[in-house]
């Protein structure tokens, strides 16, 4: 940069200088200097929430007041030097107020049709489940240091073979088993090339995506021909809970598929294993500094192999949900890019299980909402469909702060000779 331009940007951002202290990514999210920002975000949400069902405040005034308070807090955060938190607080303040204005201008009937919290939550969970499984798979693999771009392919394998297995054995449980095994099989190819042969992990992953697409498409046409999968395909059952009367959350969870609950359980299990056990620590160590781990005598290759194969199994579970859990059939390329959205969710969640769950729920919510928004404007229907992808862009563009992968992620490990 030229001296003049440097001087200009310094003067522009000068007032927003970050205070001295530890690196931002290591400062706690709820530290004292961030609290005004969080309040601003909460107020922004509240401003919008009160204009939606079931509150349906029809004047803009309360929201405007809340928005102004949020705006002031956001400004103060920015002047305190917290650029990122300040930015989000500003977005929440302005967005919440604008959303509230839009809601007060829309018809109550439309609002009530679109914002049905129970149905929205249920749809959010349904959409998020395959993403959660795949993102967890990606997380496990990348925590061990192997980049796994082939989540999409593993998901597709899981979807097809779960349907095929369930069909041949008349049992959804065996179907899930077969699906998971097929995902693991594809993942083992990835492991061989990425870990032992030290190939470029992204190229291998891409190739596996194509292989999965071709293989499942070919087998589908070969085995099921023109008629498609049979109509009596065994289905993963729903778990019916008697919570219908417990507000919108009760409504949302009253009739969810077993695998939806499975995905939440998987988040818990992955978190426990990777972050609370010794083996999990070894896994993370292999992803950060494999050479150090090797000197202690732990087999880096074995851990990476197991991690990649496990990631294949997890991603395949996501695919199995799609085919025998939700749609009850298989269609060519039915995953339609969900594996890649799962990757974005993993990065959004900074390679941590609970944050990843939050990310997939966010994507699920945006999809659920996008599907109902055409109620307001049918012409813009296609535009609303872009909502989840816009969020993905925001996520990976770094607006969620510096997302640091494990240090040895993507770097093939080479044993020192001698």
């Amino acid at each position: 940069m030229s001296v003049a331009r440097q001087d200009f940007t310094e003067r522009l951002w000068g007032s927003f200088k970050r205070p001295e202290g530890p690196e931002p990514s290591r400062r706690k999210a709820f530290a004292r200097e961030h609290i005004p920002a969080w309040i601003a975000i909460a107020l922004g949400f509240l401003a919008w929430l009160i204009t939606l069902p079931p509150f349906l405040v029809r004047t803009w005034i309360p929201s405007l007041i809340l928005g102004l308070i949020a705006f002031t807090l956001a400004l103060s955060t920015l002047y305190g030097g917290e650029k990122r938190y300040g930015a989000w607080a500003m977005i929440a303040a302005l967005g919440g107020t604008a959303g509230a204005y839009g809601a007060t201008r829309s018809g109550v009937a439309n609002l009530e049709a679109v914002v049905v919290w129970g149905a929205l939550m249920a749809a959010m969970l349904r959409y998020a489940t395959p993403l959660t499984f795949a993102a967890l798979g990606g997380l496990v693999s990348e925590r061990s240091g192997v980049v796994n771009i082939a989540l999409e392919g593993m998901m597709l394998m899981g979807a097809f073979f779960a349907a095929w297995g369930a069909d041949k054995s008349d049992s959804w449980l065996i179907g899930i088993l077969v699906g998971v095994l097929s995902g693991m099989a594809l993942a083992s190819i990835h492991a061989v090339f990425a870990v032992s042969l030290r190939a470029d992990q992204i190229v291998v992953g891409t190739a596996l995506n194509f292989i999965a697409l071709g293989l499942t498409g070919y087998l589908y046409v070969d085995i099921y021909g023109d008629q498609g999968t049979p109509d009596n395909l065994p289905q993963v059952p729903e778990l019916k809970l008697p919570t219908d009367s417990l507000g919108f959350i009760g409504e949302a969870i009253s009739n969810l598929n077993l695998l939806v609950w499975g995905s939440l359980l998987a988040v818990l299990l992955v978190w426990l294993y990777v972050f609370r056990t010794t083996r999990g620590l070894r896994l993370r160590a292999v992803g950060e500094n494999p050479r150090a781990v090797e000197t202690v005598g732990i087999d880096v290759f074995k851990i990476r192999y197991l991690a990649v194969i496990a990631s294949g199994g997890l991603a395949a579970l996501g695919g199995a949900f799609l085919s025998i859990g939700f749609v009850h059939s298989f269609g060519e390329n039915m995953t339609a890019g969900r594996g890649f959205i799962a990757l974005a969710a993993m990065i959004f969640g900074r390679w941590r299980p609970w944050a990843t769950l939050g990310a997939t729920l966010l994507f699920g919510f945006s999809s659920a909402l996008a599907q109902r928004l055409p109620e307001f404007s049918e012409q813009a229907a296609t535009l609303f469909q872009a909502l989840p992808y816009v969020l993905t862009l925001i996520a990976v563009a770094g607006l969620v702060g510096r997302s640091t992968p494990p240090a040895a992620d993507g770097v093939p490990y080479q044993r020192e000779s001698g």
Partner: protein, 352 residues
């Protein structure tokens, strides 16, 4: 690594393998070339080459493309023509697929669907000696009105009206106050169905509420299933799917929630007892008739051919046991449409 000479040998081997594969790719040219479009009158049963290019929904949509293929295969078995099907995976495939068939001197190339209207016009103008038939597109509506194209149009609104009438009657007797439609994309054939359905439902049951939504996708079943689930959550008791393969997801939603579904294009009654009926569109008949005409040199290019209830080109499929008692009423309406007594069935979906 490998010595230079070994590397060259490997390269040559790979190149030869690729050539071999490419040569094996096309298996139609070797068949007889007697099917030229300009031969003199020959006895019926002459072996012409007919090609079909499907839409993005794929052959497994159990409705639109599957029916077209059914007509094609019927042509092969009953009329003895040579057939070939090319499936399109995306909009970008239309022109290459149609051109491939035309370049290989196919006598009749059939395009399936409104989405390939422009592609068909372009390719038809490039290959004026090949006959084209296009389903759901009006040749008269094309900008250049190519003289080698015949449009095969259907009065889907009449079929939709019949289905909607049945849905309205069913709803009235079963305490249902909402029926809904799940469309693929907002294109004329889809909207014809929906408009007819809404009109028919209101005619049978004036207080009925109609919901409508578009999944923007003819393939991904999960999208239509979500849409149908949200419509069912808003009170819909009958879901009419107009979305090809994606629509199968909507029917699955109806099955899962214990509601009624209505199929489209083909008779989808075999999918289960939850399918009340189907709004049928005899695409297979249209395709077969075109092949028959082309074979007998009676192909009326440069015009449109319209299939409606009167000519038995559209109709209503098998009514399930849940709706069996309304069969007589529906037949009466069908006769009224056929005779011209019932007209002015809307074919555009109006505002809310």
């Amino acid at each position: 690594m490998l010595a230079v000479s070994r590397r060259l040998a490997l390269l040559a081997l790979v190149a030869m393998a690729l050539f071999g594969i490419a040569a094996c790719g096309d298996d139609d040219d070797s068949s007889s070339s007697s099917g030229s479009a300009t031969t003199q009158e020959q006895p019926a049963g002459k072996k012409i080459k007919v090609g079909l290019v499907t839409d993005i929904g794929g052959l497994n949509d159990r409705s639109f493309n599957a029916l077209a293929n059914k007509g094609l295969q019927q042509g092969k078995s009953e009329l003895g023509v040579d057939v070939r099907v090319i499936t399109s995976k995306s909009n970008a495939d239309y022109v290459p697929n149609l051109s491939t068939l035309a370049q290989q001197k196919y006598d009749l190339v059939i395009g399936v669907g409104f989405l390939m209207a422009e592609a068909t016009e372009t390719v038809a103008n490039k290959f004026p000696n090949t006959k084209f038939a296009i389903i759901d597109v009006s040749q008269q509506g094309m900008k250049t009105k190519p003289k080698n194209v015949q449009g095969l149009l259907f009065k889907e609104n009449e079929a939709g009206y019949l289905a909607g009438y049945l849905a309205g009657l069913y709803a009235k007797d079963n305490n249902i106050n909402t029926v809904s439609t799940v469309g693929g994309q907002k294109i004329p054939p889809v909207d014809h169905y929906i408009a007819g359905f809404q009109a028919g439902a209101k005619a049978a049951n004036s207080s009925i509420k109609t919901l409508n939504g578009y999944s923007q996708d003819f393939v991904d079943q999960a999208k239509c299933k979500e849409l149908a689930l949200s419509q069912i959550a808003r009170g819909s008791g009958v879901v009419f799917q107009v979305a090809g393969q994606c629509g199968l997801g909507a029917l699955d939603a109806a099955k899962q929630e214990g509601k009624q579904g209505i199929g489209v294009d083909a008779d989808q009654a075999y999918l289960g007892s939850h399918v009340l009926t189907s709004a049928t569109k005899k695409v297979d008949v249209a395709v077969f008739d075109s092949i028959k005409d082309a074979q007998a040199d009676q192909f009326k290019a440069g015009t449109d051919r319209i299939f409606d209830v009167k000519t038995d080109g559209v109709g209503i499929g098998k009514i399930s046991s849940a709706g069996a008692k309304y069969q007589a009423d529906v037949d009466k309406i069908k006769a009224q449409i056929a005779s011209g007594e019932l007209t002015d069935i809307p074919d555009t979906v109006g505002g809310k």
